[in-house]
Structure formats: structure tokens, C-alpha cells
């Protein structure tokens, strides 16, 4: 049936193309009869549609969507855009009709648009001086050129249907630097920008890169040795498959999802009291490890409770939308905050799945994108029936209790044993008590539920108590409508998001995956695919990946595998002088990026390299080291929930992966905040990668990194020679042997420390006392302390905090 699907899709595509091109009747393709012909047509259309961005037309051709719309959006939409109330002279320049009404194609001289923006009379010129905006002469001449060339209008790129772009031919003489379609797209652009792809990265570096990228942990030296010794041509693909199958993969990807889901262990307002949502986090890790398709992942989190015959896990999944902040402050007005929670959910929904800045339409029509205030409240209506209070602290209904699979197994086995025993025997009573205790220990999780329908109104100026026009649930008018068979509830909304016709969901999702792997998205504003956001650097590649993802069953692991096995991912990250000159930001990817690791990965790497790590999957949040007094100084709840301040765990809780760290929103874990983690107060799709002295101080002095250095020294102390120990420590962190030069520096460092600690053995003892492990080194305190400082130097290297 594949051909039928393809044909249907091709037909739909053709129809939309036609609709967009009616203004140029001469170019309208004929009705397709054979798939072949349709494909040929589509190829032609792509070439035209992307204009100069894809280089298939002469460079001087002006592409409306790429050059003119952003200019109009920036300078004109404030008064001539989607916002009905702010609109002047009934003119809309965000619509085709409005724009084309102001120009005479081919004749700039008689085009009102040009006349107004180019006028030398300040009183006549647009935009008016009071707006603080103005067009440069270069911009004016682009508008003139666009009109001269026929003033062709196109829809905003992200709202057009996703086309499966043709894969460009391999770049001739690519020297085997092309492994899959991604490389064809990337190298096609490189060639046109006068750049060439880098040679492949060396094996140890690549192995560390991909292991960090997919699991957030460094490879262990024995794994690395095996990889380096692997003689098969597909060593890398097999490594990738192993990593994708590792439970660590789910933890790492879940961490990214937690930023979007604004996951935290506290409610986020005022006293910021604790809540228990880790059971939902477990669900995320489990389904990512099980490679749940992204469409199901979407539907279950937004509307799992509404699925026919919903299983407990599917209801649990809706905890996604109870991760928002909730207010328990005395004196607050319940309805005000119930409304805020829904608005937060809409913000999260539009950012996460659609890359739209919908929140702007809370108070008025969107200033730049075709989203009206009415659209906003029609979406609001989908979330308006959750039977939830406005003011609350801690876990508050709707709730579910879903045992983890381990506990569920135990419960089932207990039940079997109980059933096998005669009633009111002692043995049976013991088992029943145990079962009851187990059940009681299952935490409750906040979830969604559909309650009685509430009327929904447009809220005037976004105010909870100012009801305007009454609206019913529906999707924004500028996007494809909901299919007729979809229910008009959250479930229908979720299914609409992942329907084939939705132009945004797949693009936004693959862009985020790309960002995760390359440090920046093909669209550099993953939170904004609207007219004010960035444009794709590789539009055809973005659409090809999106269609590949959508049509391939929304298979996340497959998508990741596809990208990380490309040459583009595998190439060296060394910066050639010419690259730095031609493409300092590396947007064309002639080299792999060097990326500072995330806060979580920096900490997890130190735990893993030193062997401190406790690799328990899932479970309640833990409290690792935190400088004393942080909570007491500024936070509330000191008389209640946080009576004892922050109490670090002892034992395993100190050494779990960072995604399990107890997250208090008003005072996030300091090391995480220092390395750019968001506060989790709101949905966040992009983290900064700053480079600050506070980060240096954390790596130099945070107890965790000192302890990691000490344990790493323990781990390598068995080496016969000092040089072996240093090499081994280096490999544990960086996944490679040091060069001869590096060896010399490290050895000199070791010897200088040795001289100091030999003179002052008391200091060595102090350093080794941190953590309290026994000292086995027969060479004594000074030697071991020096090895610790050498390990600490390694953990502080730029390369150690970088995915290279």
C-alpha cells in the first residue's frame, strides 16, 4: 500500500502548491497522472520554493519569504499585522491579499508599498518616525527588486506542508566523506559556500563524542579499548546500536525532555513546597528506552487519560501537564491561578510541539504570526475542563498511583502467594500486610482528567475575570483544520498535532534533535518557527528529516542513528583557519562542533570517570552535596516542609546521575544553575553555553570534583609506574592517551605537587581526608595527594568539559 500513500501525499502536495501558485497561472503544473510526473513536479517546485536559499536560482532573485516577509514583520506588522485592534488603515501586510494590494508586479514605480517606504518626506514615510523603526536603503532596494521580479508571494516557510525534498547528488570528489543523505544536503551547501567537509574524526575522540551525545556519560576505558581494536568496517554503527540500547540513553534523553516539561520537585511559588512527580519521570525514561514513537509519546502525555480503555501508565503520562508551577500563597485568588496554569500549558504545548509563540496571543492578537486572541482561547478551551483547584500545595487531585514495574511484579507475586494460602492463617496475614505496605508506598502522581465542561471565553487583556466572547474548542485558523473524525477534546488536539498534515510538529521535533547533537538547530530558534524566528540554514534537509521522521513512524532512535552515523556528525572538530574565517559560527558544518557539556553531563562524567557513579535507573529524587545554608538564607517554608534546611543524602544518593537531583525551582542546585541549566519555572527548549569564572570556581572547588579526583586517583593507583597512572586517569576522563607533550606537562605537575606535599605532609592528609576512604598507597600520602591533584587538573581541562 506504500505506493498509494505516496500517491495520495503527492496529490495533496500538488494541490497545495497549486493553491499557492495561482497568481502565476503559467507555471501551474498540470494534473498529475503518474506518480513519476508528480514527483518531477514536486522537485521543480522545491527548487522554486526555496529560492536562493537552495541556490537553484540566480543569487540576486529575491525570495519573498526569506527576505521580504521578515522585513515587513519587523517594521510593519505592529500596525499592519495580525493584531486587529492595533491595525491601522485596515491594511494587513501579513496576508497575501494585503501585500499584493500595495504593489504592481513588475512595476516598482507605481507600487504604493515602495513609495511609502522609500519616501523622502518623513511625514509620508513608513514606518513613521515615532515607532523607532526604519528600513535601510539596502532593504528598500531589495523590496524594489522583489517587485521588479514580479512580486511573487509565498507562505511563511514553516506553515507550508512538509515536502520530502530530493536528495542532492553527492559532491564530486568528496573523498568518501559522504555516508548518507544528510551529508549530501550538507555538502551541497558547503560546496556553494566554498567550504569542504573535514576529514573523519579519530576513533577514540569519535567514540567519546557519540557516547556523550547519546548517553551523557563518557565511555569506560575497556569499552574504548574494544572499540579501537574492532577491525570491522561497521564498528561505529555497532557502537551506536549498543549505546541506543543502553538504559543510560533513556536517562540522557529524558533530561532534555525535563527542560521542556518544566519538571521539578517543588511547586515553584512562594514557599516552593515539595511535590512528588518522579514517578512520571520514570515513565519518560522507560518509554524513551523502549523507543515509544514520538506520536504516541505526544498523545499519551497530552491526553493519555482520554484514550479508550486507558491503561494506568497512559494516565500517568499526563503528569506532563501537572509539572507546571502551582501557587499555594495565602490570600491568592483561585480562579486567577487556575487560569495561569492553563496558560502555562498552552505556552508549553505551543513551544514544545509547534515552535509557536502562542503566549503572545493571550492579551491580544499576535503581532507577527497569524494567531488571533480567539485562536488562543479556542485552544484554552481544550484544557479548561480539568477538575483542578487554583490554589494548592503538594500533590493535589487529580492523582493516580501507578506502581513501578518492579513493584507491580512483587505485588502480583504476593497476590499469587496469598491466593494459594488458606484464609486467616498467620502466613497469609503476614503476606497481606506486606502487600498493603507495598501499595501504600506507591507515590501518587498528579495527572489530568476531564471533568464537567466549563464555558470558555476570550479573556479581555488576558485577565482571568474579564470575560469576552464565548468560544468553543478549536485549533488556530491558519493551520490545517482538525480532521472530521477527531474528537473535539484534548485527545483530538493531540492527534491533530501528530497528523500527517501538521506542518510544524515534525519539523520542530527533528530540529530539536539536531540541536541536541550539533549544539544549534537547523533553525536556531527552536522555540520560534514564526515570522520573527530564525530561518532554516538547510531548509531542504530540515524537511527531508521531518518527512523521514514522520513517515518512518516517528522513530526517535532511528532518527538519532541516522544523524550520528552521517559523516557530518563523524567528522573532525578541529578548526581549520579557513573555516574560522568563512564560517566562524559553523552554521554550514564543515567541521563537527566543539560543545561545552551540559551541567548534568559535566557532573555525571566526573562521577563515571572516577567510578563513584551509582547507576540505578529511576526512583525518587536525591540530594547530593550542596553548600550548607543555601535554602535557609533566602527560601520560604523554613517552619514547615524545609524545617531542617537542605540535608544532603549519605551514600548512594550523593552519586546518582544528575537528572535525579532534587530540583527546587526557586533555588535550583547551584552547580546546575552555574552551568546554564534553566530554573524549570517554565518550558525551556534551549540552554545557553556560557563560559564564566563561576564555572571555573565550581570545577576547582566543588566538593564533588575534589572527591571525584580523589576516587579517580584510587582507581588508577594500581598502575606500576606513575606515568601509567596518569595515562590511565587521562583516558578515564578524555577517552584517549595523552600526547607526549601532554604527558610531560602532567608529569611535571605531578612532581611539583610531590615536592610540595613532601615538605608539608599535613596538607596531603587534609586533601585525602575529604571523603574519608582508606589510603592503600604504599608510597605514602605525598604521592597519593599528588596523583589526586593531577587527576583534578585533568578534570579541569577544557577538553574534559567539552564534547570534542
Amino acid at each position: 500500500m506504500g505506493w498509494l500513500r505516496r500517491l495520495t501525499r503527492a496529490w495533496r502536495r500538488w494541490w497545495r502548491m497549486r493553491a499557492e501558485r495561482v497568481q502565476r497561472p503559467g507555471l501551474c503544473p498540470r494534473l498529475p497522472v503518474f506518480t513519476v510526473r508528480v514527483l518531477a513536479t514536486a522537485v521543480g517546485v522545491i527548487g522554486l520554493g526555496w529560492g536562493p536559499a537552495s541556490g537553484r536560482e540566480p543569487a540576486q532573485t529575491v525570495d519573498f519569504d526569506r527576505e521580504i516577509r521578515p522585513l515587513l514583520a519587523d517594521n510593519c506588522f505592529q500596525c499592519h499585522g495580525p493584531d486587529e485592534r492595533a491595525r491601522k488603515s485596515k491594511l494587513r501586510l501579513d496576508r497575501r491579499k494585503g501585500v499584493l494590494g500595495q504593489v504592481t508586479p513588475g512595476r516598482p514605480a507605481t507600487s504604493t508599498l515602495l513609495e511609502r517606504i522609500a519616501s523622502s518626506d518623513p511625514a509620508h514615510r513608513m514606518p513613521p518616525p515615532g515607532t523607532g523603526r526604519s528600513l535601510t536603503s539596502a532593504q528598500v532596494s531589495r523590496v524594489r527588486a522583489w517587485i521588479s521580479q514580479g512580486a511573487r508571494w509565498t507562505r511563511h516557510w514553516s506553515l507550508r506542508p512538509i515536502l520530502r525534498a530530493m536528495v542532492p547528488a553527492a559532491v564530486p570528489g568528496g573523498g568518501g566523506r559522504s555516508r548518507n543523505a544528510i551529508d549530501h544536503f550538507v555538502q551541497d551547501r558547503l560546496r556553494r559556500n566554498g567550504l569542504v567537509a573535514s576529514r573523519p574524526s579519530d576513533r577514540p575522540r569519535l567514540a567519546r563524542r557519540v557516547t556523550l551525545a547519546l548517553t551523557g556519560l563518557p565511555p569506560q576505558p575497556d569499552q574504548l579499548a574494544a572499540v579501537v581494536a574492532d577491525g570491522d568496517a561497521d564498528w561505529y554503527e555497532r557502537l551506536v546500536d549498543r549505546l541506543l540500547a543502553s538504559p543510560r540513553f533513556g536517562e540522557h534523553l529524558a533530561r532534555h525532555w525535563l527542560d521542556l516539561a518544566r519538571y521539578a520537585d517543588t511547586d515553584g511559588y512562594q514557599d516552593d513546597e515539595p511535590r512528588v512527580m518522579w514517578r512520571w519521570r520514570n515513565w519518560v525514561i522507560d518509554v524513551i528506552n523502549g523507543n515509544m514513537p514520538f506520536d504516541r509519546f505526544t498523545v499519551e502525555q497530552l491526553a493519555g487519560d482520554l484514550l479508550p480503555g486507558a491503561r494506568p501508565e497512559q494516565v500517568l503520562a499526563t503528569g506532563f501537564n501537572r509539572n507546571n508551577r502551582t501557587n499555594g500563597e495565602g490570600g491568592s485568588i483561585a480562579e486567577e491561578f487556575r487560569v495561569e496554569y492553563i496558560i502555562d500549558r498552552l505556552d508549553t504545548l505551543s513551544t514544545t510541539w509547534m515552535g509557536l509563540t502562542l503566549a503572545c496571543a493571550r492579551c491580544h492578537d499576535h503581532k507577527y504570526d497569524p494567531l488571533s486572541q480567539r485562536d488562543f482561547y479556542r485552544l484554552f478551551a481544550f484544557f479548561n475542563n480539568i477538575p483542578e483547584k487554583g490554589i494548592y500545595r503538594r500533590n493535589t487531585p487529580p492523582l493516580v498511583k501507578v506502581p513501578t514495574s518492579v513493584v507491580a511484579g512483587e505485588l502480583a507475586s504476593l497476590s499469587r502467594q496469598i491466593d494459594a494460602l488458606p484464609k486467616s492463617t498467620k502466613a497469609r496475614q503476614v503476606l497481606e500486610t506486606r502487600r498493603a505496605d507495598l501499595l501504600k508506598a506507591v507515590p501518587s502522581t498528579m495527572v489530568l482528567q476531564e471533568g464537567p465542561r466549563r464555558d470558555t471565553f476570550v479573556l479581555v487583556r488576558g485577565r482571568y475575570d474579564r470575560h469576552g466572547e464565548k468560544v468553543i474548542a478549536g485549533v488556530p485558523e491558519s493551520l490545517p483544520g482538525m480532521a472530521r473524525n477527531l474528537p473535539r477534546n484534548r485527545l483530538g488536539l493531540a492527534r491533530w498535532l501528530v497528523s500527517d498534515r501538521h506542518p510544524l510538529t515534525a519539523r520542530v521535533a527533528v530540529n530539536r534533535v539536531w540541536q541536541q547533537l550539533f549544539g544549534r538547530g537547523l533553525v536556531t530558534t527552536p522555540e520560534d518557527f514564526g515570522s520573527q524566528g530564525g530561518r532554516p540554514s538547510h531548509p531542504a534537509l530540515l524537511d527531508w528529516l521531518a518527512s523521514e521522521f514522520r513517515d518512518g513512524g516517528w522513530d526517535v532512535k532511528r532518527l538519532l542513528r541516522l544523524i550520528v552515523t552521517s559523516h557530518t556528525f563523524r567528522q573532525s572538530s578541529r578548526i581549520r583557519p579557513v573555516d574560522l574565517k568563512l564560517d566562524p559560527d559553523n552554521q554550514w558544518l564543515a567541521r563537527a562542533p566543539r560543545l561545552r557539556l551540559s551541567a548534568e553531563t559535566i557532573r555525571d562524567q566526573a562521577l563515571a570517570a572516577s567510578g563513584l557513579i551509582v547507576e540505578q535507573l529511576g526512583g525518587p529524587s536525591v540530594k547530593p552535596y550542596q553548600p550548607p545554608g543555601l535554602w535557609k538564607e533566602i527560601a520560604g517554608g523554613a517552619s514547615g516542609a524545609y524545617k531542617n534546611g537542605y540535608q544532603s543524602d549519605r551514600g548512594p544518593g550523593l552519586y546518582r546521575r544528575s537528572l535525579y537531583t532534587f530540583w527546587r525551582r526557586t533555588i535550583p542546585p547551584p552547580m546546575m544553575a552555574t552551568f546554564d541549566a534553566p530554573s524549570r519555572e517554565a518550558c525551556s527548549v534551549r540552554r545557553g553555553r556560557t563560559n564564566t569564572p563561576l564555572q571555573a570556581l565550581a570545577l576547582m572547588n566543588d566538593t564533588l570534583f575534589v572527591e571525584a579526583a580523589r576516587r579517580l586517583a584510587d582507581r588508577v593507583a594500581a598502575g606500576a609506574e606513575v606515568a601509567d597512572r596518569i595515562d590511565s586517569a587521562f583516558a578515564h576522563v578524555l577517552g584517549r592517551r595523552p600526547t607526549a607533550m601532554e604527558q610531560r606537562v602532567l608529569m611535571a605537575s605531578y612532581l611539583r605537587s610531590l615536592a610540595r606535599f613532601s615538605k608539608r605532609p599535613g596538607l596531603g592528609k587534609e586533601l585525602l581526608a575529604a571523603g574519608g576512604a582508606r589510603l592503600h598507597d604504599p608510597e605514602g600520602v605525598a604521592a597519593r595527594a599528588s596523583l589526586v591533584t593531577t587527576c583534578h587538573v585533568i578534570l579541569n581541562l577544557d577538553e574534559a568539559v567539552t564534547r570534542e
Binding site: D272, R686, R756, L763, N796
Partner: protein, 477 residues
């Protein structure tokens, strides 16, 4: 190395990071380049104006001090003691649910005496004798108003220009817009203290950077342990060894830089140097032993207690001397729903002398001319008593419709009282100043057009003043 690269907060680096590697900076061209358009340039018909203030000390009184007992004198209320608040004044405006269920709203006149002070004749309560002596330095605003009625959204609005979490705080905007004047310290420092049992909590977001790059977030100096997190070397690592180890790290990073050519490595090397310098400069900064007795005395006896409001005020002066751009103090404890007369005395005892001492100290050193000092809480308090009213005791609920604040120093008109409320200090009667207006005016004093200090995020050019704010000319010198 350190000489050539300088501080993190030096704009050369920030700008490169900003436009280059920082994933937040893409497509937004505001680094140093934007300064020309932010500073003193004509925009939208406003006259150009040179910056009058170079730095800010913001004395945020968290919990909301009662304007009725400090600055907004309403002698007519004595005659109305215990009478219900007239409906003509209340006008059905919303109340918090802490008092909306009260059967009565009895008028509670202040039990404190007011008197005129200085040449300006500013009316100030007996609770603030030290501040009163500085009356001629103050620009007192009695017609402030805000939108939120609860602490969390209200203080978030005051400090970030939005009730919702996620926007950059004032200091972060300033760090982003103006950069730092200091090579060895952050450009934005937050200091916290409290009275009584602590009162309303604070949140990292109040000095956070929101969607701005995180290097603009305020660094909180702490009163316990290291003043800056992770400042001290671990046990066993003496300063000399630390220096050697950092040299080794630098040597290895240099090798990496030579082979990989990534300028980010160079930046990291510079950051380690700055971190090392901070290990010396910060302890010096928090060590008051070089302050003469007569200066310490200005701030009152609490100055000796590290972490007190008094000690933070002195620290603020030391930071401002060193070129730190924005120093944000928070003092908690003003949320007096009950026993207000008793509790407000304690709050004033803890804060009055240090606030005034700071002004005097800055003035003596000539720093007040280009330092903007702001004293404000997140909203005001109700004229009616929350809970039982007696002749000596009452409580006051949250009141966003009017409150008082003062400014002093660079750019503001000294010895002024601006705005007025009605006879009940319930509604603004004239010259209302919204939080956005205040922020627009403060930025103006710093030479910044509030409409031009923008950062593009989620498709919008965000501002501290959102789409609002108007410069209140009468407040300007």
C-alpha cells in the same frame, strides 16, 4: 594571558560569545554595538540625555512596608478610627482572600507620629529618624502602584517587569546593556538579609538572567561560608599550589588551543585567571577591617554582624567603589498582617540607620552623584485593619493600588515629594507612577532609553518595561 583577555564581563569577550558560541545570542545584535543606540541617542522624539548614574544600589524591602506608617501621612484618619472603609473609596476593588471574607474593614490610623524634615519639608514617620535626616537627598514618591496582589508575582514584577517567571531581572538587563566596570568582580551582585523570622521567601529569579545569557545573572554574595559559591580552595590545596595547578591546566589548554584552534578555549583560560583573581579580590572586599570606626558607626551597631542589612549596606558601598554596576539588596520581614506596630519597629530599627548611613557615606565620598539608590517594596498595605483593631494594635493586608518609595543620587531630583493618594491612602489621587514608569525613569537616569534596551526572544523584542513605561520627568534632576 590575563592581561590580554581581561575579565569575563569585559564586553569584548561577552560580545564575541554573545554573537558566536552562545546559543542564545544568535540573531540578536546587541553587544557593545548596541550601546550607541541605547545610550543618549535620540529616539522617538525624546531629547538626548547623558547618563547621570553609573551604578545602582537597590534596597528592596521584601514583604511590602506599610506606606501609612512610614511616608504617607494621613492625619484625617485619626477621627475615623474604627469606622468602616467607605465604599466610595473601596469601589469593589479586589482584595486578597485573607481579608475578602472579613465582615468589616475598620480604618486603622497609624499610631506613629509624622513630622516635616529638612528644607524640603518631607513628611516622614518617627520610625525613620535617620532617613529623615537625609530628607533633602530623597526623591520621595507616594503614588506608586502595581498590578499583583500577592508577594511572589508582585516582587517578580518589581524586579523583572513581569509577574510571570522567566524574564531577566533589572540588574541582568543592566549588565547586558552596559557591561562591567570591574575586571575582578561580577557586574551584578545580590545580597540578602532578614529580620524577625525571615518573612517572605526570595527566589533566584529575582536576580536571574531569564532569557539573557546566564553570565548576566546576579551573583549572590552569601553571609555564611564562602561569600561566593566555591570560592575557597579545598582543604590541602594552598594558594601557591593552586597557582601552579592552574598554570598546568593553562599549559594543557594552550596545547589544545594550538591543535584545535577553538577560540572558546582561550576564553576558558581567561575565566580561570579571573576565578583565581576573585579568590583574592572577594575576601578583601568582604573584610571590613580597613574601615575606620566613624564609617562603621554610620551604619549602626549591626554592621559588625556579617549578613545583617547594615553589613550589606556597607558591602554595597564597597562594591560600588569597585565599579560593580548593580547591587541588589533584599531585606525580608515587612509582611505585617498582624502586630504591625510592634514588628515594623523592629524592621525600621534594622534598616533605617544603615540605609541613611549608606547615603551619607556615598555622599561623603562623592559617590552619590553617580550612584542611584532606590528604596522600595513590592506593594503597599491596606488602610483597614486585617484582624482585630485596637488603639495600639492592628495588621494590614496587601495593597497594590498605592505605595511609597524613595530614590536618591545620580539623576533624580533631591528633596522632592511626588504624587499623592486619597485621604485613606487607598487610591492614587494624583501623579500615579506604575512600576514600569519607575523602571523607565531609572533606566533614563542610567542614560538608557527603556524602549531600546531589547533582547529578541521567542520572536519578540523584549524589554524590562514590556510595552509600557513612561519617563516621569518631575522625578529627574
Amino acid at each position: 594571558m590575563s592581561e590580554s583577555v581581561g575579565s569575563l564581563w569585559q564586553e569584548k569577550i561577552s560580545r564575541r560569545l554573545f554573537l558566536g558560541r552562545s546559543s542564545l545570542g544568535i540573531g540578536t545584535g546587541v553587544g557593545t554595538a548596541a550601546l550607541a543606540t541605547l545610550l543618549g541617542e535620540e529616539a522617538g522624539g525624546q531629547p538626548a540625555r547623558a547618563p547621570r548614574a553609573r551604578r545602582v544600589i537597590y534596597l528592596c524591602q521584601s514583604g511590602a512596608p506599610s506606606q501609612l506608617d512610614l511616608f504617607d501621612h494621613k492625619p484625617g484618619l485619626v477621627a475615623r478610627f474604627g469606622q468602616p472603609l467607605p465604599e466610595s473609596i473601596r469601589r469593589g476593588q479586589r482584595l486578597t482572600t485573607m481579608t475578602s471574607g472579613q465582615k468589616q474593614f475598620p480604618v486603622a490610623p497609624s499610631v506613629f507620629r509624622f513630622r516635616r524634615h529638612g528644607h524640603s519639608g518631607a513628611m516622614i514617620s518617627e520610625l525613620l529618624p535617620f532617613t529623615a535626616r537625609m530628607a533633602d537627598e530623597l526623591c520621595l514618591v507616594r503614588s506608586m502602584h502595581t498590578e499583583a496582589i500577592n508577594h511572589d508575582p508582585a516582587i517578580t514584577l518589581l524586579q523583572t517587569g513581569s509577574q510571570q517567571a522567566g524574564r531577566p531581572s533589572f540588574g541582568a538587563w543592566l549588565s547586558y546593556g552596559l557591561g562591567s566596570e570591574n575586571r575582578n568582580l561580577p557586574s551584578f551582585v545580590a545580597l540578602t538579609s532578614w529580620s524577625l523570622k525571615g518573612g517572605q521567601p526570595l527566589y533566584d529569579r529575582l536576580w536571574g538572567s531569564g532569557f539573557l545569557p546566564t553570565r548576566h545573572q546576579g551573583v549572590r554574595f552569601r553571609a555564611v561560608g564562602d561569600p561566593v559559591l566555591f570560592l575557597s580552595n579545598p582543604p590541602g590545596i594552598a594558594s601557591g599550589l593552586r597557582r601552579e595547578l592552574l598554570d598546568d591546566v593553562a599549559r594543557l589548554n594552550r596545547l589544545k588551543l594550538d591543535s584545535f584552534g577553538d577560540p572558546e578555549i582561550e576564553t576558558r583560560m581567561a575565566q580561570y585567571e579571573l576565578a583565581f583573581r576573585m579568590q583574592t579580590s572577594v575576601p578583601e572586599l568582604v573584610d571590613f577591617s580597613d574601615e575606620p570606626r566613624h564609617v562603621l558607626d554610620l551604619y549602626g551597631p549591626d554592621v559588625a554582624r556579617r549578613g545583617s542589612y547594615a553589613s550589606n549596606c556597607l558591602l554595597a558601598r564597597r562594591l560600588s567603589e569597585r565599579g560593580v554596576r548593580f547591587i541588589q539588596l533584599f531585606h525580608r520581614g515587612w509582611d505585617q498582617h498582624s502586630n504591625l506596630p510592634r514588628d515594623i519597629r523592629e524592621l525600621c530599627r534594622a534598616t533605617d540607620q544603615p540605609s541613611a548611613g549608606l547615603l551619607r557615606d556615598l555622599k561623603q565620598r562623592g559617590l552619590l552623584d553617580d550612584t542611584l539608590v532606590i528604596w522600595a517594596g513590592e506593594f503597599g498595605r491596606t488602610v483597614y485593619s486585617q484582624g482585630e483593631l485596637t488603639s495600639t494594635n492592628y495588621g494590614r493586608d496587601h495593597h497594590p493600588r498605592c505605595f511609597s518609595m524613595w530614590m536618591a543620587g545620580g539623576g533624580v531630583r533631591a528633596g522632592t515629594t511626588y504624587g499623592a493618594t486619597d485621604d485613606f491612602s487607598y487610591n492614587v489621587a494624583e501623579n500615579g507612577v506604575h512600576v514600569h514608569d519607575l523602571n523607565a525613569t531609572l533606566l533614563h537616569c542610567l542614560g538608557i532609553d527603556h524602549r531600546r534596551l531589547t533582547f529578541k526572544y521567542q520572536g519578540r523584542h523584549h524589554r524590562l518595561t514590556d510595552v509600557h513605561g513612561r519617563i516621569v520627568e518631575p522625578l529627574l534632576a
